[in-house]
């Protein structure tokens, strides 16, 4: 495995969380670079350990969140992302990135639709680590907090039982501790059967430092926030360092 973990962030017109996501990844030991999708040729994924689809509003999220970006990926990159994954690569989608991964079919079937409240919701939420085997979540406790900021984050499946099955199968990697947006089975993050793809609505990049917490008296792990540990977990996994 590589000495230095390489992360590639894909940026679409409308992607807007790339800078702080790159910052979080670097803090956790990644070498992170951002590629505008217009420059992301198929070979861009060579020598990359982790492909990240950051948050934002790709192509405005018109029609539905992530739809046009996923179509553009297929149009411009073909199945390069699928092949990267099949070749052992890791993929992380945050918020809009999660929405794009759902559309691309890199995660178990379902959809992220408008929040039950029909509102955009920007607030911190309590989360449960619901899968023991996610390489992204090794370093996180059973319960942790992250902020969410989305209008279309309600996870649904064609039948509600499928979402329950995802929980049983360990595919529902992260769940909201309480219902915030009407998601089936309170699912906040999904992982692939391979465990190498994670999509989540909450924003780990917004909580890499303790001071980013809303409560001045938050007692976390020294000066780091929970998002940092998510990035560090996957960095340790791809470099083969400890924490398994």
């Amino acid at each position: 495995m590589a000495e230095r973990a390489e992360a590639l962030l894909l940026k679409f017109p409308g992607t807007n969380c790339d800078e702080e996501t790159a910052r979080g990844l670097r803090l956790a030991g990644f070498r992170a670079r951002t590629a505008p999708v217009s420059l992301a040729a198929r070979e861009s994924f060579d020598d990359v350990d982790l492909v990240v689809l950051p948050g934002g509003f790709s192509y405005g999220d018109y029609v539905m969140a992530g739809r046009l970006a996923s179509l553009e990926i297929s149009l411009r990159l073909g199945d390069a992302l699928h092949r990267f994954h099949e070749g052992g690569g890791h993929v992380l989608g945050i918020c809009n990135g999660f929405q794009i991964l759902m559309q691309l079919g890199l995660l178990p079937a379902g959809s992220l639709v408008e929040n039950a409240s029909e509102r955009f919701i920007c607030q911190w939420v309590e989360l449960e680590r619901a899968a023991a085997d996610s390489p992204f979540l090794d370093g996180l406790p059973d319960r942790f907090e992250l902020p969410i900021a989305h209008g279309e984050g309600r996870f649904i499946t064609a039948h509600p039982e499928e979402a329950e099955d995802y929980v049983k199968q360990g595919l529902a990697a992260i769940r909201y501790a309480a219902d915030v947006n009407g998601s089936y089975a309170r699912i906040a993050g999904l992982q692939s059967v391979s465990r190498r793809v994670l999509g989540l609505m909450p924003h780990p990049e917004r909580f890499v430092f303790a001071r980013q917490h809303y409560d001045r008296d938050w007692k976390g792990c020294e000066d780091r926030g929970w998002g940092y540990f998510l990035f560090r977990s996957i960095r340790e996994r791809v470099t083969g360092a400890a924490a398994v």
Partner: protein
């Protein structure tokens, strides 16, 4: 080649009938209920099947939505329909995004020349009184950006 038209209507599986008060600035007692869909009207040349395929691929989320062709009302039993969308001079961002993607991904089987997107509200007679279109129109549309249409159901149908 003559331009052909194709209209599709997309409904939300999870949507339920609810009170129009959600759409009004000042709630009214006994406000009627409504449901909504989105309508996409394509003007195109070439293969109709290709346009329909494009619509399914680009506009539809099969998990949460249903696509309806043919023009029969998605929610029968309504009192009237309110269709509204961006008027010709107003920027419709969704339309621009869809057409932009169509231009990029064209394979020659069809050329979509125009697209008109509207929201369709089905207004029901659920709460007794005959619902008034005027008060709804006043709060929902704005002549500064919208064009709209009210279609009353044929009472005998």
């Amino acid at each position: 080649m003559p331009k052909e038209r194709l209209a599709i209507e997309v409904s939300q599986k999870l949507q339920r009938r609810r009170s129009c008060n959600a759409l009004l600035y000042v709630p009214q007692g006994g406000a009627p209920n409504f449901q909504s869909t989105r309508r996409y009207e394509f003007g195109f040349t070439g293969s109709r099947e290709a346009v329909e395929d494009f619509a399914r691929r680009v506009l539809l989320d099969p998990v949460s939505q249903e696509l309806h062709c043919g023009g029969a009302p998605v929610y029968p039993g309504y009192a009237f329909l309110l269709d509204y969308g961006m008027k010709p001079g107003a920027l419709d961002l969704e339309k621009e995004a869809v057409l932009q993607f169509h231009r990029e991904s064209q394979d020659g089987s069809c050329v979509i020349e125009t697209l008109h997107i509207t929201k369709r509200l089905y207004i029901f007679r659920d709460n007794g009184d005959e619902p008034s279109a005027a008060s709804l129109v006043r709060d929902i549309v704005n002549p500064a950006i919208h064009s709209w249409n009210v279609t009353h159901a044929d009472r005998d149908a």
